[in-house]
């Protein structure tokens, strides 16, 4: 197992109260696996990603659980050792390529600085690698001399990906990597991620776009209000969703080819400072019963994880 997250809880101590953005979440990832974490904004999916690389800004903190990555337990690692994991063993791609590159530094300088932090290379060698990496993501190598503002959004995201994979990390976490891009560019960036995956890297894609997740990943984890409510094989989960939330999410995705009625999910995700008692999806759930006022158990049904009373076997 490459990554094993066990009962991870990340909370934010705010003036309005304690917000459990990630609440007792477990998931695992094999080498070369492609998992998508899907959910609405504010469901905790990005917090989960940042918890794994331990970049949770104050007032947030990892309050419980363990993260095993490639033989190391990350939550107890010293800051210096964790720094060496970031970039070298886990690469990260961000949502908005317009803001995730330093506007004052050349592309080449940004790539080589990262390289030289982690591996013992001369400046010249590092620049050579930077050129290679740009070529690999489909950019002319002489773009190393460009500044971010001279590139388009799609090109910048390619640079971000080049940077993320330049040290050949075993895991690539992509936080909404295509959200800020137009559809055509989106497609190309997804192709690029798939290529990176073919080289044996595990990929964790954070997205709100169910269709995108269904198309590219092996497994999907659906998050709602800090919980993973359903997780399993991408095809089967898409075809036969079990959790009422997953079902609602799939039904709310518009389809260009099929003229079917879109059923948007009613209501909004709960305020995590005061979550509803019992199941957090209860106020929006069409199938809620008396039982749902207690927290549902997470059960394994047919190789799939689902956190719902409907599937509780007595």
């Amino acid at each position: 197992m490459l990554l094993e997250v066990e009962n991870l809880t990340t909370l934010f101590r705010t003036k309005r109260g304690i917000i459990k953005a990630v609440d007792n979440v477990s998931l695992s990832l094999e080498k070369g696996d492609f998992i998508s974490v899907v959910g609405e904004s504010g469901c905790g999916k990005s917090t989960l990603a940042y918890s794994i690389i331990r970049l949770i800004d104050s007032p947030g903190e990892i309050a419980g659980g363990k993260i095993y990555f490639d033989g190391k337990e990350l939550t107890s690692l010293s800051e210096e050792k964790m720094r060496k994991v970031r970039g070298k063993e886990i690469g990260m791609v961000f949502q908005d390529p317009m803001t995730s590159l330093d506007p004052l530094e050349k592309i080449g300088d940004q790539i080589t600085e990262t390289l030289m932090e982690h591996i013992d290379v001369t400046k010249k060698e590092a620049w050579g690698i930077a050129r290679e990496m740009l070529e690999k993501v489909g950019l002319p190598p002489d773009r190393v001399d460009s500044y971010p503002h001279q590139l388009s959004g799609g090109q910048r995201q390619r640079v971000v990906i080049a940077m993320a994979v330049s040290l050949n990390p075993k895991l690539l976490i992509a936080d909404e990597p295509t959200t800020a891009l137009d559809v055509i560019v989106q497609e190309k960036i997804m192709d690029l991620l798939n290529e990176m995956r073919k080289e044996g890297r595990a990929i964790m894609l954070i997205t709100h776009d169910f269709a995108l997740a269904a198309e590219s990943s092996d497994r999907i984890a659906v998050m709602y209000a800090g919980w993973i409510v359903e997780m399993g094989d991408a095809d089967r989960l898409t075809k036969e969703p079990m959790h009422p939330y997953t079902r609602g999410l799939i039904e709310s995705v518009p389809d260009v080819w099929v003229d079917r009625e879109i059923k948007p999910l009613p209501g909004f995700p709960p305020d995590l400072a005061k979550p509803p008692e019992g199941c957090r999806f209860r106020p929006r759930c069409p199938l809620a019963t008396e039982k749902c006022t207690k927290e549902p158990p997470g059960v394994e049904v047919d190789g799939r994880y689902v956190k719902c009373w409907l599937f509780e076997v007595e």
Partner: protein
């Protein structure tokens, strides 16, 4: 780098129209304001022939366009005319006697304010929301609102009178002046390896530049704090950390980004500082341009005042050129 060169050349060419407009404005304003400079200088009871003679000597009886051309050629050949009082020395010589004093005080006060501002501002930003942060913000507001003569006198009382550590006025103890090369005493002392005059010049500089430095640092504290907080929350800072870049280097990149608006303020402040040193100069009997201007305005030395203003204007144009070049060196978005 060629784009940087192109930028600098364009920017240099822009200085020419700027300076011509500046000079024209000074020329026009001095002629539009009512009252004849000669009459206001010597008084009304002087016979008309004497007034005529004085006007002729000053070249004020010629038609405006001739005056204008003579004035422009004068300025471009370094001739700002002759003072109308006391020995009638060339204005440029008078300016050169006083300008280095102001420049020296400005440089020291300015450097101190920037250093203080960056230190206090970054401490506040990195400890955002803490008691230290509140302390720095209070410092910034107090420093910003201090009245220079009052604060200067406070320092004079403390360091000069009670502690007897530092001189309270003047630029140097008579007899200690270094050989004149640039007119900047500190620089001249270093160049001539004269440690006595170096220490003497520095001790005289201490209080006036501390006054200026503290008062001006308030604005920097605020600006650095707010910018740094803004930059630190940007995605690319988080991206640096996510790539395992050392915190020290992340801070360097953050500071570099936060510094851009600070450079703008520095350019504006330096120009204001040159003119605004008047209060500091009079508090510390500093023989600079401020003291000189006040004196000449009192005596209605019209050519000296005009010359000093022209000199200031050109210097400010030069400073804004330097600031823009620094700007372009720092921010690639400007030079392309």
């Amino acid at each position: 780098m060629s784009s940087l060169r192109a930028y600098i050349i364009t920017r240099l060419l822009m200085v020419i129209p700027t300076v011509i407009i500046l000079l024209t404005l000074v020329f026009l304003i001095l002629r539009i304001i009512p009252g004849d400079p000669i009459t206001s200088m010597v008084g009304q009871k002087v016979p008309e022939e004497v007034l005529e003679r004085l006007r002729h000597e000053a070249g004020l009886d010629k038609p405006y366009h001739v005056q204008y051309i003579e004035y422009l050629t004068g300025v471009f050949t370094g001739n700002l005319g002759k003072s109308m009082i006391w020995g009638k020395r060339p204005v440029i010589a008078e300016v050169m006697d006083h300008f280095p004093a102001t420049l020296e005080l400005t440089i020291f006060g300015f450097a101190l304010s920037v250093i203080l501002g960056i230190i206090t501002g970054s401490i506040a930003a990195f400890r955002r929301g803490s008691k230290t942060d509140s302390g720095m913000r209070i410092y910034s507001i107090i420093a910003y609102t201090l009245f220079i003569p009052w604060f200067g006198m406070l320092l004079q009382m403390l360091f000069g009178v009670y502690l007897e550590l530092l001189p309270i006025g003047g630029r140097i103890t008579p007899g200690n002046s270094p050989e004149t090369i640039t007119g900047l005493y500190v620089l001249d002392s270093i160049l001539t390896l004269n440690s006595t005059s170096l220490m003497d010049a520095l001790s005289h500089l201490a209080l006036p530049s501390l006054t200026l430095g503290i008062v001006l640092s308030g604005a920097y504290t605020r600006l650095v704090r707010n910018n740094l907080i803004d930059v630190l929350s940007q995605d690319f800072i988080r991206a640096y950390r996510a790539r395992g870049v050392r915190e020290r280097k992340v801070v360097f990149h953050a500071m570099k980004n936060a510094f851009i608006p600070v450079v703008t303020l520095m350019g504006l402040q330096f120009a204001i500082l040159l003119a605004g040193a008047v209060l500091t100069e009079s508090t510390f009997s500093w023989p600079g341009m401020g003291t000189f201007l006040i004196e000449r305005i009192e005596y209605r030395d019209y050519t000296a005042v005009q010359g000093a203003i022209v000199f200031y204007a050109m210097f400010v144009a030069l400073i804004s050129l330097v600031v823009d070049v620094i700007y372009a060196l720092l921010d690639p978005r400007i030079r392309y």
